[in-house]
Assembly symmetry: C3
Homo-oligomer: 160 residues x 3
């Protein structure tokens, strides 16, 4: 008999249509929207991820946070001084100029695709005794590189 | 009694000799080769990863895709317009020139090592109802930075 | 009855105070310090991670290595020629200059924050038959970007 036979038995929500799978999600795999207001922007989603972990109500050992977009990313960085993420965005724009003469992609947002790959599309955070194992200054940042848009974040609570 | 006692009991293949472990792989941990034809190149391996997940025939919750090379990487990015990955490669070459005067590494491929670390050596993708949870435009891209070569990709199907 | 009822029952150590959770760690989740001596430096921590995996003494399928800092990171790269990581650090400094005129963060270490996000705060390595699945030339590198300091690495051994 499988150990996790009741794994996917909780309240379900339906995954957005633009994701391939018309999935049945439960409390272990959940999602939320992020509405961005700038072209380049980093938004602290740590508390929303904590809420998903708490709602899952299982003995989890980690959580994976996934961004199903190709012009947005996710990273962990400092939350104390808002100038840190401002400087990170500025430096990314400096390294990856929006208007390189050699870009060919018709949508004109190749820079956003480069930055998305540089930051990555997921982070995993350990969980101990129900709480995210993060350093004092660490937060999870949703990285918008071609906003403003409404974006989605998918969260999978693992273990238990 | 361990829950996953039969976990590694399926048909086994032997891991390539250049990987440290003379491992016994089974259907949950598999691998495939990627043959690149350019010096810098991104190759869509999504369908091959899907096949490994399908072959594993387990109730998986995620899949980790790993590149055991130090001058190649893996990332998730757009698959609709081939100009996107072309532009990503061009911009990476712009940021990380092949011939920096300060490079000392004798093989002369330090730029490839930098780009490998910028993209990362693995991605994890969630699985729901047997299918990869990817946005419509997302594919998994093997990133060759010092080709052409024959490369290897290792896939671990998780959960079930 | 939960399968992993004895999961967190081994000898425990207390997590450092600057991490949010006053956690009780066991052999599956462990940590060690890294003392850096340069401002920018990459330190091979592969053997220390191997030791944690060995000490955990479980049938693991992977290990996650996590850096709870925002001016340090972790990556996988070549271990054969020390000039490789030297060149990687040089090129990162070239791309992300320490003294950009537009930086505002009062601590003056915005470059370190950018590089931390570029490398990432964790890597996951597969384990097969008790051993890390790494290519011959691959090592796990702790990346110091604002040293010298004493840093911490958190390791979670998974599976078993």
């Amino acid at each position: 008999m499988p150990c996790h036979v009741n794994r996917y038995s909780a309240t379900r929500v339906t995954l957005a249509s633009y994701v391939h799978v018309p999935a049945q999600y439960d409390l272990r795999m959940n999602r939320f929207n992020v509405t961005t207001s700038q072209h380049s922007e980093m938004i602290d989603i740590t508390d929303r991820v904590r809420q998903v972990v708490s709602d899952a109500n299982v003995s989890a050992d980690s959580v994976m946070v996934y961004v199903p977009h190709t012009t947005a990313g996710i990273t962990i960085n400092e939350n104390a001084d808002p100038d840190v993420v401002r400087d990170v965005l500025k430096q990314l724009n400096e390294m990856v100029p929006w208007g390189q003469p050699f870009y060919r992609h018709g949508e004109g947002n190749s820079a956003a695709h480069v930055k998305a790959s540089m930051m990555g599309s997921s982070v995993t955070v350990l969980i101990d005794a129900g709480r995210l194992v993060l350093g004092t200054w660490q937060s999870l940042w949703f990285c918008e590189f071609d906003g403003p848009r409404t974006r989605e974040v998918i969260v999978q609570v693992r273990g238990g």
